[in-house]
């Protein structure tokens, strides 16, 4: 291309501008924030939740002469946001992940083991610590955890002269007896995502199912139970579309006498007067079996920051403070989750007897990623496929679990 003299300025400027745009766009903004500010990436997009978090952060940061700044994105976007931040070296000082996402981040070597960072997790319960550990190393600390229980409409059960069911047989009988008119006896979430799988696990695990060997036959009765509830008309066929929020809505509108749900619904349940409710343990296959519900919740991690070790130690101080007995208890009560410290959990149980069922369950609850680690997302997809195909009559339980095992281990 000939370059006419005298006119060079304009194209050069244009090129420089284009170059600048390119350069700016590709490097991103990697500027370190103020040294006295600790940044946090979490999923507290809800205003009340965001403010509650800020309260606790401020409570811990002020005595240390620090400030805490939260960046909150919707829960399902935390991991992709964190990855993008990591690629531009702008990851926050504290990263709060869902427990099931921890292994994939721990495996990258981008997180600081908590004992190196100086965070003390020795007072937490084993199940609480399981949520934040990967390959025997503690990378994340959970302030509080949740699980699942059977929440029932006390009025409807009393009218039918029933006690909350404790075994699967009772569950089926009671659900059938409670199904009348517009009301189903039982509601649960069987949606093809994390919600549905979380709700399937207490049944699958209590039956003896193993997420690493889905096709060993032990988990099939759990699929059978869900299928029976739907086929006998004791639960709606729409359960395959319901997430846990939908299940709660069904319960609150009186269309379900019992439901599986978690303690995070307690504020919604308490805020209304139409339905009287109580909490019981999830029924087990045979009387005397121990329930094995999944443990859920978020864990706080400290991403490595080799250039600024003081930022890591500030983050560690905040985590230690958030996990004092007093703060854990206060936080647990604020969000209706069970504290992970044994002492705080005991106090929580005494102060909130109506939620004792949750507090007890957490002791025997199991982490989703404890056995399969980074393989969990695949197992989750495979399990969802299994119960969806059984509930819609596409497959019988054994065949569905065999296919699920193939999917979960494909490419290994």
């Amino acid at each position: 291309m000939p370059s006419p003299t005298g006119r060079i300025a304009k194209p050069a400027t244009a090129l420089a501008l284009a170059g600048a745009v390119l350069g700016f766009g590709l490097t991103g903004c990697a500027a370190q924030p103020d040294p006295d500010t600790v940044t946090v990436l979490n999923s507290a997009t809800d205003t009340a939740e965001h403010e509650a978090n800020q309260d606790f952060f401020d409570r811990c940061a002020e005595p240390l002469g620090l400030k805490v700044e939260q960046i909150s994105v919707p829960a399902d976007q935390v991991s992709s946001k964190a990855l993008r931040m990591a690629s531009s070296d702008s990851l926050t000082d504290i990263l709060e992940l869902d427990g099931s996402e921890l292994p994939q981040f721990a495996e990258t070597d981008g997180l600081r083991p908590l004992d190196e960072a100086g965070v003390d997790t020795s007072a937490m319960s084993d199940s609480g610590n399981a949520l934040g550990s990967f390959d025997g190393t503690q990378y994340g600390v959970a302030r509080s955890v949740n699980s699942l229980a059977l929440i029932y409409n006390t009025q409807l059960l009393a009218d039918a002269g029933l006690q909350p069911p404790t075994t699967w047989e009772e569950l089926k009988e009671d659900a059938a007896a409670l199904t009348q008119g517009d009301t189903y006896g039982m509601a649960f979430s069987a949606s093809p995502n994390a919600d549905g799988v979380y709700q399937f696990l207490p049944f699958f695990w209590t039956a003896g199912g193993d997420e690493a060997h889905l096709d060993d036959g032990a988990g099939a009765p759990a699929l059978e139970l869900w299928k029976d509830l739907v086929d006998e008309g004791s639960a709606s066929r729409s359960v395959v579309n319901w997430n846990q929020q939908d299940v709660n809505d069904q319960f609150l509108s009186g269309r379900a006498a019992m439901m599986v749900n978690g303690p995070w619904q307690v504020p919604v349940l308490s805020a209304q007067d139409d339905v009287d409710w109580a909490v019981a343990s999830i029924p087990v296959p045979q009387a005397g079996d121990d329930p094995v519900p999944p443990i859920g919740g978020t864990v706080m991690t400290i991403p490595k920051n080799e250039d600024h070790p003081e930022r890591e130690s500030n983050a560690a101080k905040i985590l230690n403070c958030l996990n004092s007995e007093e703060n854990q208890l206060a936080w647990g009560e604020r969000v209706n989750n069970v504290p992970t410290r044994a002492d705080a959990a005991q106090a929580y149980r005494e102060e909130n007897p109506e939620l004792a069922a949750f507090a007890d369950l957490v002791l025997t609850a199991r982490s989703r990623t404890g056995e399969v680690g980074t393989g969990w997302p695949k197992v989750e997809t495979a399990l969802a496929g299994a119960f969806q195909s059984v509930l819609t009559g596409r497959s019988d339980p054994e065949a569905a679990l065999e296919r699920a095992q193939q999917q979960a281990t494909a490419g290994e």
């Binding site: 291309m1 000939p2 370059s3 006419p4 304009k10 194209p11 244009a14 284009a18 745009v21 390119l22 766009g25 399902d76 991991s79 992709s80 990855l83 993008r84 990591a86 690629s87 994939q104 981040f105 495996e107 990258t108 070597d109 981008g110 517009d182 949606s191 093809p192 995502n193 709606s236 066929r237 729409s238 359960v239 395959v240 579309n241 269309r255 997302p377 695949k378 989750e380 997809t381 969802a384 496929g385 969806q388 195909s389 509930l391 819609t392 596409r394 497959s395 999917q407 494909a410 490419g411």
Partner: protein, 318 residues
């Protein structure tokens, strides 16, 4: 399309007498193209090349921390093609796209023809019909999820009142109906767009053609086939190609309506990419499915350009 034909004209007379001026002029012409070129390279070329490269790499969360993404040949492609879901998703994507386009286009065209006869309140009704298009897709999907609820949805109550169905239709809870339901909702969303563009096209057809057809004694159906449709052809191509592009990559509607279920019966290539990349965090495999989508779109884009060029050529010789 137009840029390739336009520059030819001013260049021709300048060539012989003043070669230096022609060079400068050509440079200036390129200067006008430059911003578009830079834009294309940055916002289309770069992501496209990255996506193709990514499909041959082991691209995992680790990559974001270390910057390392080792090449693994055809591993990602093998795994995706061995995945049962890929075949299902491809087939369901085709059904979804063809079903949606046929429905959207037929109803859209019928409404456009209907509204091209001016009558009282036609403007107002046309504006109201635009609403489904203005509502965010996720909102529509959430509303339809309630409407199509098997037990308490308005749709089933309506059908029962009319005694059209005794048992509730499992719109979203049966694998054999869910894809159809998703197509119906997407038709509802897409009709206004088709109607508006086709209505615009109908307004462009000269009135005298219809008068001539009337004088020749053509029936309404004959007029529609021999005057309206041929004159509308360029617009029809645009509507169908744009509709195809936006339908084949469907994600938000399905995620909010069924989440790909029940039993994967509404999984499409879009939801599969989402699942692989953002739930399983295997960005390499996600990129493979993305590339398949790009490839399908590219084939149709080329077909579209050819058809369009043929149309332009005809117009030019007259």
């Amino acid at each position: 399309m137009t840029t390739s034909t336009l520059p030819a004209r001013p260049e021709a007379p300048a060539r012989a007498p003043r070669p230096r001026g022609a060079g400068r002029r050509r440079f200036h012409q390129w200067l006008f193209v430059l911003p578009a070129l830079v834009y294309l390279l940055v916002f289309f070329g770069y992501p496209l090349v990255r996506n193709v490269l990514m499909s041959f790499q082991e691209y995992t969360p680790r990559t974001y921390f270390t910057g390392e993404a080792p090449f693994n040949g055809l591993d990602n492609w093998h795994r995706v093609f061995e995945n049962d879901l890929f075949g299902d998703a491809l087939w369901q994507t085709i059904l979804f796209t063809v079903g949606s386009l046929v429905g959207q286009f037929t109803i859209g065209l019928a409404l456009a023809v209907f509204f091209s006869r001016r009558f009282h309140l036609s403007g107002v009704i046309r504006a109201v019909l635009l609403l489904p298009w203005l509502v965010p897709m996720v909102v529509s999907a959430v509303v339809w999820r309630r409407i199509m609820d098997e037990d308490h949805g308005v749709l089933n109550s309506f059908l029962e009142t009319l005694h059209l169905s005794g048992d509730g239709v499992p719109w979203l809870s049966s694998p054999s109906v869910a894809l159809l339901s998703a197509i119906l909702v997407n038709i509802w969303i897409g009709v206004p767009f088709n109607m508006v563009i086709l209505y615009g096209g109908l307004q462009e057809i000269p009135r005298d053609l219809y008068e001539a057809a009337a004088l020749d004694g053509a029936s309404p159906w004959r007029t529609f086939r021999s005057v309206t449709l041929p004159m509308l052809r360029p617009v029809v191509t645009v509507v169908l190609v744009l509709g195809f592009m936006s339908t084949i990559k469907i994600l938000d509607l399905i995620l909010a309506l069924t989440g790909g279920g029940p039993a994967d019966s509404t999984q499409t290539l879009g939801t599969l990419t989402y699942q692989l990349s953002f739930l399983q965090l295997d960005f390499g495999q996600g990129a493979v499915v993305g590339n398949v989508l790009i490839l399908i779109s590219a084939v149709f884009a080329v077909l579209y350009l050819r058809v369009n060029r043929a149309d332009l050529g005809n117009g030019g010789t007259r």
